[in-house]
């Protein structure tokens, strides 16, 4: 199954897509997730219908349909 990670990074979202049945792709996505978390990104799962509220993810789940990685935020 195709899964997607959208990374908000100033480029207008970098998309990382993986097949949850392919271990190499899953591992690449997992490593990306870990690296981004280390940089202060917050992960949200937005699986399901449009308009659904995001759920914060503390760990990588390869079967998550769509996740959005939000970069560190600052007060303005």
């Amino acid at each position: 199954m195709t899964r997607e990670m959208a990374i908000i990074d100033g480029s207008g979202d970098t998309k990382l897509i993986w097949d949850s049945n392919k271990s190499a792709e899953v591992e690449n996505a997992r490593q990306t997730f870990i690296n981004l978390k280390a940089q202060g990104y917050v992960a949200f799962s937005v699986t399901g219908k449009e308009g659904v509220k995001g759920e914060r993810m503390s760990e990588f789940h390869p079967d998550t349909e769509r996740m959005i990685m939000v970069p560190p935020m600052v007060g303005g």
Binding site: A6, I8, D9, G10, S11, G12, D13, V42, F44, V46, E50, G51, V52, K53, G54, E55, R56, I68, V70, P71, P72, M73, V74, G75, G76
Partner: protein, 194 residues
Amino acid sequence: MAGEWYAWSNNAMTSNASWASWIVTSNALRDDTSGSTWTTWIHNDAPEGQNLLQVLRQEAPHWSNREELDRMAARVAEFEAERERERAEWTARQLRANELLMAVLDESQREDLAHRGAFQLKVLSRDGSTRRYEISRGRTGNVYQLDEAGNRIFKFCAHPKVACPNEDTMLAQKLMLEANEEGFLGIANRSAYG
């Protein structure tokens, strides 16, 4: 480059005259260090659609050395082409960001955003109460807490560190409020509305 373009799109501070004066009286276009300052001017302050060479001719009519002008014209053309590429790239970024934001808004929120430039969301707070927020188009100071009647009572300012399209900022604000309200409020600067 994104940062430069972002800054350019949000600022217009230095007048043509003062920069043209600097160009004429300094080593602008003659060495790499001055060239980078020239680049900054192009990105930050150059008026859109204006022929920069014309501006400089107006501001520095005594600069009549043909070779210098030809060299300057080449540099101007080069930087204007770069600016056009960056503009196209930024537009593409905005389109991608908008597509992602639309995917996580419901129909009512999309309509509100299209017609009012803002959408609302309800957040179940840790204390069990439900709070209403409104996020308007923008990057800073564009998040509001609403009272029961829908009036804005507080304004919050928190946004991604990285320069990104407003649609990405709004998406980040929405996700943070819905799933990590305390975290968002802990970061944001808050002020009474009005």
